[in-house]
């Protein structure tokens, strides 16, 4: 075996360890969710289940109890969908428009404004919890899904603006000038020229925002009411409900259900994510 093969082997070994590190918990969660209580008690953490027992999945989805409420994870999951879909779409559209203005229609002080917007990317959100709840109260949006959508749009806007602004900076100015001479205005240039060129960054932003908003716990726990808790908060409450027997299989199934949408999004659109992050200047 020569040195080249040896280094190859070392690379695969390192990658293998990384894969094991990330996939082992998922494996344990999956096999546990398919076991019944008896198997969990008697068996080994890593052993395969004795069959595909879907009972715990059904329980987790529709009838597991959180306190006295025994509707499973389903209502929280629906809350998360109702919260995440509009919040992702609005924050992405908002960021695209901001980025378009800040890169192609610069005005006096626009770079300074962008600098201020960047604060929003690095600011710890705990800082705004109290003022935000005041604002939501003034607006009559406390404890509502609409309130959560608003919070996520505001929190995500800085990041989406950064993504789009930096992507659009690489688009040659001459392209905008050509469109201006052709007779297109601000909105036409945005819709007909700029948006069609944005697929990679659009994908990155959509995945990024969906993952952030779906997985968010802080805003969910701080601003939701009894009927507007997102799935992350629902999962936490369900797993923490104390009963005589800990149903690990149900908790595992519930955790996978809560995490499934972000995994699906990454599997379906992940190739764009990698492409979008590495895409440089747009060749005309």
């Amino acid at each position: 075996m020569n040195a080249k093969n040896l280094s190859r082997l070392a690379i695969y070994a390192v990658l293998g360890v990384a894969v094991f590190f990330f996939l082992a918990p998922l494996y344990v969660m999956l096999v546990t969710s398919f076991k019944d209580a008896e198997q969990i008690r008697s068996g080994n953490l890593l052993s395969l289940p004795q069959g595909l027992n879907l009972e715990s999945w059904q329980l987790a989805w529709s009838s597991a109890c959180t306190g006295v409420d025994c509707r499973g994870l389903k209502p929280y999951f629906m809350n998360s969908v109702l919260m995440a879909v509009p919040a992702v779409l609005i924050s992405t559209a908002w960021g695209a428009l901001n980025g378009y203005v800040l890169s192609m229609w610069k005005f006096r002080g626009s770079d300074l404004l962008f600098g201020f917007i960047l604060f929003g990317v690095f600011m710890p959100f705990q800082v705004v919890l109290l003022p935000m709840s005041q604002v939501l109260g003034f607006m009559g949006l406390s404890s509502s899904i609409a309130g959560l959508v608003l919070v996520h749009c505001l929190a995500g806007m800085a990041g989406t603006t950064l993504f789009f602004r930096n992507y659009y900076t690489a688009i040659p100015r001459e392209l905008v000038n050509a469109a201006r001479m052709d007779g297109a205005g601000f909105w036409r240039i945005f819709v007909r020229i700029v948006i069609p060129m944005s697929t990679p960054i659009l994908m990155v932003t959509l995945i990024w925002q969906f993952t952030n908003i779906w997985n968010d716990f802080l805003f969910g726990v701080a601003f939701s009411g009894a009927d507007s808790k997102p799935v992350t908060v629902g999962l936490n409450n369900m797993a923490n409900t104390t009963s005589s027997v800990k149903s690990y299989n149900v908790d595992m199934a519930a955790a996978i259900i809560a995490g499934l949408p972000t995994m699906m999004v990454y599997v379906l659109a992940g190739q764009y994510f990698v492409k979008g992050l590495t895409a440089g200047a747009v060749k005309g």
Partner: protein
């Protein structure tokens, strides 16, 4: 329809107060209908800024600008009825070639059938009919250049603007597209303003050339004028390749008694004034002759095929001479140089301005 272009007292200042930079200093140019005007100069001379001002992409700090006798200051680019070809072509990457060409018409709400007919006409004119369904990324450099011109032609504008359109092409394609641009201009007769830093493009394309430097118009005239009667040493040195030889010396006498003496030689040449002057002499107007009194040593022989340029080191510096390719001189040879009384360019040594 050809339009005239009237540029008067155009100034452009960037920045404010101490940090302000004057990019254009009172530019006056009149362009007659159907003319092909070249703006030429080194980078940073303000030629592209002037073009952007004509296009309406930038506003001048002060000055007058009229297209077809209509004041266009403050008017949006789209309303000026002009079309522009950009250096990077600026084709819309997500649209087909046909949509690229038709975009301006679509923005002007031209009906679909008329638009399609016009796209076909323009494509035929540029021989790009087979490319209409392609995306810009699938085209070669020369094809993109053609599409960019097609986009400008489609609208049949009053005025064409070109911003260094050939600088991204390789040498062979550049010559080809240069001929193409000239052909299209002759075909359409549309008034054209063309920015370049390439003096060969300037000489071959322009009906008139405006040479700029540091925001100041140095000279404007026909290519012949600019080449034969440069207004100052800057224009003389900028236009022509290899560049004009400059010999700094002192003139005396007049008519047949005229003498021009300089370090290492004296020539029997009449100069319009008796003063410290600089003689500008193009390489084709200096000759190698064995019995001449002005001597030098050959330090460079450059065959280009049609001509051979010989660099001769003399007491006043390097002198470039154009000779026939059959020349036998070699590096290191001692040669004599002669200058005839025809084609002399005299400049004031201090001001650099042309004399007579």
């Amino acid at each position: 329809m050809a339009a005239s272009l009237h540029i008067a007292g155009i100034r452009k200042v960037f920045g404010k107060g101490d940090k302000s930079v004057e990019i254009l200093k009172k530019i006056d140019i009149e362009v007659a209908p159907g003319e092909f005007l070249i703006l030429v100069g080194p980078s940073g001379c303000g030629k592209s800024t002037l073009l952007n001002i004509i296009a309406g992409l930038e506003e001048p700090t002060e000055g007058e600008l009229r297209i077809a006798d209509k004041n266009v200051i403050g008017m949006a680019p789209a309303q000026r009825d002009i079309a522009m070809v950009f250096q990077s072509y600026a084709l819309y990457p997500t649209m087909s070639v046909a949509d690229n060409i038709g975009f301006a018409l679509e923005m002007r709400k031209v009906p679909l059938e008329v638009r399609q007919k016009r796209i076909k006409e323009v494509a035929a004119m540029l021989q790009i009919e087979h490319l209409l369904d392609r995306r810009p990324a699938q085209l070669s450099g020369g094809q993109r250049q053609r599409v960019a011109m097609g986009r400008a032609l489609a609208r049949d504008p009053q005025l064409f603007l070109f911003d260094e359109p050939l600088s991204n092409l390789d040498a062979k394609l550049r010559v080809e597209m240069r001929a193409e641009i000239k052909r299209l201009h002759q075909l359409s007769g549309i008034t054209t303003v063309y920015v370049t830093h390439d003096q060969i493009e300037a000489m071959t394309l322009g009906s008139r050339i405006a040479v700029m430097k540091d925001g100041v118009l140095q000279q404007i005239g026909t290519p012949d004028d600019i080449y034969r009667r440069p207004a100052n040493t800057y224009v003389a040195g900028f236009i022509g390749s290899p560049t004009m030889n400059f010999i700094v010396g002192q003139s005396s006498g007049s008519g047949a008694e005229g003498r021009f003496s300089f370090e290492g030689g004296t020539l029997n040449l009449p100069c319009p004034v008796t003063a410290a002057v600089t003689l500008g002499q193009r390489p084709e107007h200096i000759h190698l002759s064995d019995d001449a009194a002005w001597r030098g040593q050959v330090s460079l022989v450059e065959p280009t095929g049609a001509d051979t340029y010989v660099g001769v080191q003399t007491a006043v510096g390097m002198i470039t001479v154009r000779t026939a390719p059959s020349t036998l001189v070699k590096v290191g040879d001692h040669v004599g140089l002669s200058v005839s009384a025809a084609h002399n360019n005299w400049f004031d040594t201090n001001s650099g301005m042309r004399l007579g």
